[in-house]
Symmetry: C2
């Protein structure tokens, strides 16, 4: 980035955004993305030494509203249980940043954004991104805050992929990393489910090759089907059986038809319908593709341990017993590589019947593990309860 870059931080209904006007973000695909805009939320105060920042990385369909109401849906922040004053991610102590990934649809530059040349929204002219590109965009935001080293990078699912990517590519900027229900590479089965979703979207006649922004229509049905398929993978078989089983929806007997006779059908249809209100189909294509492409070992000559060679980052890896999308075996591979690289790593497999979505839910063991890890890391970093880096020395 040798051209002059102006930065404009603005507040709007969706939180805050910073526009890096003139910046050209080099992407893994070989092209660059111009005039990057990043939408974010912060919670708490950055300390004078800028050592108390936690970057929260969100999952596929989440956004920057981790600890505050989503202004569009009116729903509370998706990690409100974890983040706040006196909570495990204590905003009296830490400065918490959460930004919408590039390629997303909650304010950061993505397929919905206007091209710099004035020829309308990108649509599928948007370049295909990687998790590495998402992280590279996040470094712009972290630089913007003048933060050299993040106290922690933390996230579940795709957020965990970003945490691992941060640790692998910017080890000196990551004091600690917490990848939850994640993996260093997307499995064949996961690529398969993503491909089903993409084909459902592309098959929708309103998709129009991604140029639907110029019409009044949206590929709602296709995106809805994509969400329905994905949603099954986020839950465990046990959860589905316990929560819905074969219970009927508002009826005493089956209808001998194709209505949503079963609660599980009604639930999935509802998931599909509400999702299309809050998510963009093109973003769904781009973000799933970035996840599919993620393969840290391949980026390091096939040797996963090489990705973390000599790292000083402290890792806390967590998985859930009933998560079949990012099963424990994936986390075990990550931990093995970290051990081989001589990293400081703790690993907890959490007994849960809630499936992949457990990372978003009230999981006491996950919360306790995170609490202990952050407190210990904060001590090692010399952070006090008030988030000051110096107090400990002054005492």
């Amino acid at each position: 980035m040798n051209r002059p870059v102006s930065k404009a931080q603005t507040k709007n209904d969706l939180g805050e955004t910073v526009l890096f006007k003139g910046a050209a973000l080099k992407l893994d695909c070989g092209t660059a993305l111009e005039d990057i805009e990043i939408a974010f939320r912060t919670y708490g105060q950055l300390n004078a030494e800028k050592t108390n920042a936690i970057l929260i990385c969100h999952a596929l369909t989440m956004d920057q509203h981790a600890a505050s109401e989503n202004p569009l849906s009116g729903k509370p922040g998706w990690w409100i249980d974890l983040i706040g004053a006196g909570k495990i991610i204590d905003t009296d102590k830490y400065f918490v940043i959460c930004s919408n990934v590039i390629g997303g649809c909650a304010g950061s530059t993505g397929p919905q954004s206007l091209k710099p040349d004035g020829s309308g929204p990108y649509g599928t002219d948007f370049p295909v991104l990687t998790i590495g590109d998402m992280v590279r965009a996040q470094t712009l935001l972290i630089d913007h805050f003048g933060i050299d080293s993040l106290f922690c990078v933390l996230g579940g699912s795709m957020g965990g992929m970003q945490a691992l990517e941060w640790a692998a590519t910017h080890p000196e900027r990551v004091f600690s990393a917490v990848p939850i229900a994640a993996s260093t590479r997307h499995s064949s089965q996961n690529i398969a489910f993503h491909e089903v979703g993409r084909q459902a979207i592309i098959a929708d006649p309103h998709f129009l090759g991604g140029r639907y922004y110029e019409t009044d229509e949206r590929p709602r049905k296709g995106l809805g089907v994509a969400r329905m398929a994905a949603h099954i993978t986020y839950l465990s078989e046990t959860t589905l059986q316990q929560k819905f089983g074969r219970n009927l929806q508002d009826r005493e007997a089956v209808s001998y038809g194709f209505d949503a006779d079963f609660q599980i059908e009604s639930y999935l249809r509802h998931q599909g319908m509400t999702f299309v209100e809050r998510f963009d189909a093109n973003s769904y294509l781009y973000i799933t593709r970035a996840m599919d492409y993620f393969d840290l070992a391949a980026d390091h000559g096939g040797n996963l341990a090489a990705a973390f060679e000599g790292t000083k980052t402290r890792f806390c890896v967590m998985s859930f017993t009933s998560d079949w999308l990012f099963p424990t075996s994936e986390s075990v591979q990550t931990v093995r590589a970290l051990n081989a690289a001589g990293a400081n790593v703790s690993f907890v497999e959490i007994e849960s019947d809630k499936g992949h979505d457990a990372f978003l839910l009230d999981e006491p063991e996950m919360h306790a593990t995170l609490d202990g890890f952050l407190k210990s890391a904060a001590q090692a970093r010399g952070l006090t309860a008030s988030g000051s880096a110096k107090e400990a020395k002054d005492d």
Copy 2:
């Protein structure tokens, strides 16, 4: 059925069919289906005593061509490894019958059939069926052959559901039953995956509420997506990882696009595309619905054991360790109920990494188990190597 019924058995390119003209098959939904036609194949000879018949029940997307080339696809019979002269299901010994389920699209009465009133094909005017209805239609065929008691009813997946339904509703007509990779009720997760497929079909603009037969179009994309989603559930994660992993398809590097970069994507797309050539979208809706509705316990006051009370049928239940669609836990429930009912039952969980589809593949332990079970049952039935029931007594 008090009206005069004429039976016309004809041979055509698709095998044989028998038309029960004038017959009205009472369905669980309360209506009746008129002029039932059943397409079937037979292999081997029915002995004089009519005691050596094996009914093979097919799975969701299969057909009557179990042991002979499918005339449409040119592919060999789907259980050709098992059925034939000198094979485990020995056609020198047994008379093997396999019929297309009603609701199907391989010659039996289904949504593609013409309504008796001359107003064109049924489409979604076809009544919603159950597994019980499918079995009731099969009894017409078995009666047609003059068979009082089947030596064995045998099938995998939905075929296994039919075998269980036969044993529950016609215990006196089933000497032995072999449900493989099946269940006595469709689970919440399985209903969920079926619902995704149905919604993908219904979302296709060429579906036209099921009235697409009158157009030149078919809901190909929707049916393709349904097949892709379902196909993932037929394979194990291990199979996918071993067979495809993250291997690229005909390229050295990812394309940074939405082409089928990965072999798994290419494979799934191929599965979707070839499926729509051989299967009807309406049939897919009806047959998946029949599976969803299957719940033997519910049909017996919530007591699964009651479904098999006093049964004299010999059962051989099989499951596969890596089958996550019809996991071993489902077969264990079946076996528990059979034991509670005092049934003669043997149960084998087969170590396999091939997932649900293992029942269609070369699984030596499954073959050996089936071989032993059939030989022992044949002995108990007094069947000799030539399929005669009397020879044993004459010796």
